[in-house]
Symmetry: C2
Amino acid sequence: MADTASQVDGDTGIGALGDIVGFHIRLAHGAVYRHFTETFADLGLTQKQVSVLWLADDHPGIAQIEVGRRIRMDRATTMTIINRLQDRDLMRRERSDSDGRKQALHLTAAGVAALAQAKNAIAAHESWLKSRFTDDEVEKLVEMLTRIHE
Amino acid sequence: MADTASQVDGDTGIGALGDIVGFHIRLAHGAVYRHFTETFADLGLTQKQVSVLWLADDHPGIAQIEVGRRIRMDRATTMTIINRLQDRDLMRRERSDSDGRKQALHLTAAGVAALAQAKNAIAAHESWLKSRFTDDEVEKLVEMLTRIHE
DNA sequence: CGCAAATTGTTAGTATAGCATACAATCTGA
DNA sequence: TCAGATTGTATGCTATACTAACAATTTGCG
């Protein structure tokens, strides 16, 4: 007769760790991250890099600090990501006219093309992720996740 | 009159990025990770390190490969984490009797004490996280996250 | 049984990401 | 006008994740 949770798992599981919500978020994030990386292996872009390209495309001339604020990165981290994108000629910096402290960010032509490809890859990635859920569940999941990160 | 999603955000949001489920998982993970780090600043333990201590305590003599399998890390990554725990005298390696290739992992006395402290900190961290949800919602969230990482 | 293949641990190297600190340039407000 | 805040930049440290290669050991096939 089974008498502990770990034996119910056949002793291949994570035991009481499985009761920790944060642990499940971490595992789910890891699974999504790995699939994302596979999907984007050809493009050679990471989640962060795509997010930054996407934001800069939606908001031409956006400042670095503002990019970081919206996707929850500090200035130093934002720098390294934009440095890489600039080194690969996907993005360029311009001095802001309105505020000399700021850099106005823009995509290059290559950046626009890369983002277009990235959005296709994201569609495939999202299908993989959403295939587990009904539309209602997706909505509920996003709403609950938003409560966490908002 | 608002006419686009980004304007509903008052132009401070993430626009169409907000429709990407994977993006919300990443943001939520980041928020949880940051709160975890704050909660554990005194103890100086990371999520991974606590998970490994926890597993080794639940399963004395567990092999490194098995730890990695259960919390989704490859052998090399598992090595670096256990190296750190061993350097801090929280964990020790022994040759396995049954399989000479394996290391049997055990907590030291200091490791047992650290894990006990960690479990208290996790309780506080989990309260912070769960305070957003009803019990039913927590159950539904964990169930949906499990569908992703299983 | 004996040997090839698989498993486990280890090491080394690379890349991404996050954070702290310090500094310079610029802007803001009292 | 000038002190303080903001923004970008540079540097350094830490944690994580992956690959590739290698050694020791075990497993299983012929």
